[in-house]
Structure formats: C-alpha cells, structure tokens
C-alpha cells in the first residue's frame, strides 16, 4: 500500500493534520499566528545549516526552529512589542535562510521544495518521521491538556491552581518547533503557519468545546490534504499550496455554516 506515492502523500498530510489540529487550536486561542510564522520561516535557515554541515535535514530544521521559538517566547515574556518583534524575526529568518542557502552548491534548484513542500515525493523514511513527530506532539499536548487550557484561559487562574504558565508555554514552543520540522516536507516553510491556523479557524465556527475544536481541526486538516492532493494530481498544481487552498475553501464554508446556525 505504501508503494503508491499518492497513498504516501495522503498519509503524510493526515499525519501533519494530527499534530496541527490541536496545536493550531492553541495557536488560534493564544493569538500566536505570527509566532508560528517566525518559527516556520526559520526552517529555511535550518535547511541551509543542515546541508552545509551535512546533518540530517530534520535535525537542522528542528534545531533552528526551536532556537527561534525559544527566542520569541523569551522576548515575549520580557514584554517586547510582539507585533514588531515578530515581524522583524519572521522575515529576517526567511531572508537569512534564503541567503545562506545560496551558498550551498546545487540547492537552488530544489529551493521551491523547501518553500512549498514536496509531499508527492515523501519516502517511507519521511513518513516515519512525520508520523513519529506528529505522535510526539499529540502526546505532549494530551499530557498537558488541562494545564495548557487553563494557562491559555488565564495565567493567573493557572498560577493560583499551582500550575506554572511558563512551563506550559514551553510545551507549546517545543511542540511548534516539532511541527515545523514535520511539516516542511508536506507544505513547505511558507505555508506551515497556514496549516496551523486555517483548519483550527474553520473548526471554531462549528465547535462548542475546546476538545471538539481540536478534533474537528484535525479532521478538516486531513480533508484539506485529501482534496488538495486530488486537485494536484488532477490539474498538476503544486501540492502544498493546493492543500492550503482547500483548507481555505473549507474555512469559508464553515464560517458561512457557523453564521447560519447561529441565526
């Protein structure tokens, strides 16, 4: 079954959705969209470093994404103006990554694979990485779920209940870096944040509890992967953008449905 590249691609997309559904919900609830962007854009720098030092790609991406996520998280805790800081960091990370990658011979031709993903050529090894990473993210979020929700709702409430909001923020930071490493092959650095935000935003219109929203977001992410891949095979479009475009259409439909239901 895994011999078929379309099956592998679909499994990769669903694997990503398993992680981005719940994590993306937190990104939406905590208004971390730009934070996700900065971390995802740093992935290109990770690719450049991994290629330059002949490290495994995922390792380089994970390392740089983690460094970026921790930097942003630390600056946020120190009260920096986040909108500006994130704008500077997100675009600088991308620019430095693109500059750095020009120094690595023979990569320029593959650049679009890193920017927009290359889901149609995922190998069994990639698939193992994607599902392993996604399972890790999901396990992390399930383990900390109650504490994460409480800290997201109110850091004061969390603190009064004996929880440490900083630790919960760290959990999300690590999960975000993991997702970036997982998602690079699927949708590419430029559209990782889209896979976090759009399915969760679509699920919001239809959900009544946080758990329902996370589960729905996973389902919508998986559906978007399926539809995007069909579009890609049918019309020979780029797979990553097709997946994100499908998610956006689902979002529009869900938003309308949510409005209608509310009356």
């Amino acid at each position: 079954m895994l011999d078929d590249f379309t099956t592998r691609a679909l499994l990769a997309g669903i694997g990503l959705a398993v992680a981005t559904g719940p994590l993306g919900s937190f990104v939406v609830w905590r208004r971390m969209a730009y934070f996700g962007d900065a971390t995802a854009h740093a992935a290109i720098l990770g690719v450049a470093l991994a290629l330059a030092f002949q490290l495994p790609l995922a390792l380089g991406v994970l390392g740089v994404a983690l460094a970026m996520a921790l930097t942003v998280s630390t600056l946020a805790a120190k009260g920096w103006a986040m909108d500006t800081t994130l704008g500077v960091l997100a675009h600088s990370a991308l620019a430095f990554g693109l500059v750095a990658i020009s120094f690595v011979p023979g990569v320029r031709t593959d650049l679009s694979a890193y920017l927009f993903g290359d889901i149609l050529v995922v190998s069994r090894g990639d698939l193992a990485l994607i599902w392993g990473g996604a399972a890790l993210v999901l396990a992390l979020l399930v383990w900390r779920w109650q504490a994460l929700l409480t800290a997201t709702l109110s850091e004061e409430l969390a603190h009064a209940a004996g929880l440490n909001p900083n630790r919960e923020r760290l959990v999300l930071t690590v999960a975000l870096a993991l997702v970036v490493a997982v998602a690079l092959k699927v949708v590419g650095a430029l559209l990782i944040a889209a896979m976090l935000i759009i399915p969760a935003a679509a699920a919001r219109a239809l959900a009544r509890t946080p758990e329902a929203m996370a589960a729905l977001a996973t389902g919508i992410g998986g559906l978007a992967a399926f539809l995007g891949l069909r579009l890609s095979l049918w019309q020979d479009t780029d797979a990553g953008p097709s997946i994100v475009a499908s998610a956006a259409v689902i979002f529009a439909l869900a938003a309308v449905a949510g409005q209608l239901r509310r009356g």
Partner: protein
C-alpha cells in the same frame, strides 16, 4: 505588626513586610497582613493603591522586592479574578470551564452552579454569559476545590448595583455554609464593609486596619476617601449599629432599603 502577631489561629495566608516594585516605582511598601480561617477580610483602596498588586503578590504572580508571603501547609485556595477574558476564538461551555484545571463530575458541577444560583447554564458558552452570570460561574469554579480561602479581586466589576449587592450576599452565604475564609478587594465601600469582619485600608502601604467601624472612623481612611464617602459611611454605621439615625448625606443611599442588617445586599 497588624494582623500577623497575637492571633490564636495560624493564618491561612500571610504577607510579611512585602514590597513590590515595577520598574523604579514602589507599588507596595512594607505591607503585612494575615487572613485567619473563616474570616472575611476586605482590602479597600482607591484606584492605583496597589490592591490588585497585593492580591497578585499573595498568589505569587509578581516577584517581591522585599518581604515574604507564607501559606498554611497544603492550603486549598479558590481564586476569582477581577476579570477573565474568554477569547471568542475559544469555544468553551460553562460545564467545560468548571473542569479546569481539575476535572469534576457532572454532579459536582451541577451542585456548584446551584450553590451560586445559576443552575441552568451549564451548556451555555462562557462568552455569551451576562456579567453577573459570569462572576457566579467564576465563583462556582473556585468553590469546586472546596477552598479554605477564597480570594476575590474586585469580583463585582461591571455589575449593576443590585447585581453587586446580590453577589456580596452570595459570598457571605458561601462563607457561612463552607466556613471558607474570604479575602477580597474592593473600591466600593458601603456594601463591602457591612459584610467584612476586618477591613484593610491600602494606599501603597497599609493606612489603617481593623473592624469596619474602627476603619471608617480612622482619620487615615477619611483622608484617603474624602468627602465623597460620607453617605457610604452613614449607611454602613446605620446597618451595623441598627441605629435609626438618618444621617444620609449622599444621593445613592436611597437605593438601599433599611430592613435589616444586610438588606442592602438583597
């Protein structure tokens, strides 16, 4: 030191010479206080007097520049924040909210909602509640941990006057039923003072402290709150002494009938 020494019961929570600085500014200076089991203590002060900062210091949310905060061993603490913004991006029913961070049974959740007088709203979205319902749900959640100490930071902000009075009466009832001590912050004088065993008047430091009557007669208190409180003071004394003087110098007293001691809270 007020409130710390010479008490028979061990305090549930105590601040000892607490100083808090934000940047260079000292927001709290040498504040000491203690809350004993079962008592209602109100921290009273004008805006910017450091009331909320003191609560946050007691909860361990702000670093202390000096001094210590100590809690009784294994203290169960219920906290009702001043306000809680439930972002519209998060779907959250009242029932689900009550299970944060500790999951509770449906029966316990229903009992908690009934205790605060909002039985039927378990399936409503938090973001869709009225101000009064929202505060009651916050209180219900705080009660679920069977707290020995309830801390409430201006719990009636955004409520109209009847709603505010009803909420304070509810807190008194809860104290009566559960025996939990209550530490609350307020800037509205008359309603709170009647319900309190002790009032701590704060303006960066503890200006004065004692029973409501002692505080309301203290020159520091009068200096802090000025003439605008005349009516409130009159009302308060009326209620606690059951003296039928009609020394009401302030318009909004007429909103409060004089049936019995806590009639204004009904």
């Amino acid at each position: 030191m007020p409130g710390v020494q010479g008490r028979r019961m061990t305090p549930l929570i105590a601040a000892d010479h607490v100083c808090v600085r934000f940047g260079g500014a000292e927001v709290l200076h040498e504040v000491s206080l203690a809350v004993k089991p079962g008592e209602i203590v109100t921290i009273l002060g004008p805006n910017g007097s450091g009331k909320s900062t003191l609560i946050r210091a007691l909860l361990g949310l702000v670093p202390l520049a000096h001094g210590t905060v100590s809690r009784a061993e294994g203290l169960r603490l219920g906290y009702v924040p001043q306000k809680l913004a439930v972002d519209r991006s998060m779907p959250l029913t009242v029932r689900r909210f009550l299970s944060l961070p500790t999951r509770v049974s449906d029966a316990a959740a229903a009992a908690a909602l009934a205790r605060v007088g909002v039985e039927d709203i378990g399936q409503r979205q938090m973001a869709a509640l009225s101000g009064g319902q929202f505060q009651r749900v916050l209180l219900a959640r705080a009660l679920l941990s069977e707290p020995q100490l309830l801390i409430l930071d201006e719990p009636t902000q955004g409520l109209d006057q009847p709603g505010e009075a009803a909420f304070y009466q509810l807190i008194e009832t809860v104290r009566h039923q559960t025996g939990a001590a209550v530490l609350m912050v307020s800037h509205d004088l008359h309603v709170v003072m009647a319900a309190s065993d002790r009032v701590i008047c704060l303006n960066g430091h503890v200006c004065c402290e004692g029973t409501p009557r002692v505080v309301s007669n203290a020159p520091e208190y009068r200096a802090l709150f000025g003439l605008g409180t005349r009516g409130a003071l009159a009302l308060y004394q009326h209620e606690h002494d059951h003296a039928h003087d009609h020394d009401h110098g302030h318009g909004h007293d007429h909103a409060h009938p004089h049936h019995h001691e806590h009639s204004h809270a009904g």
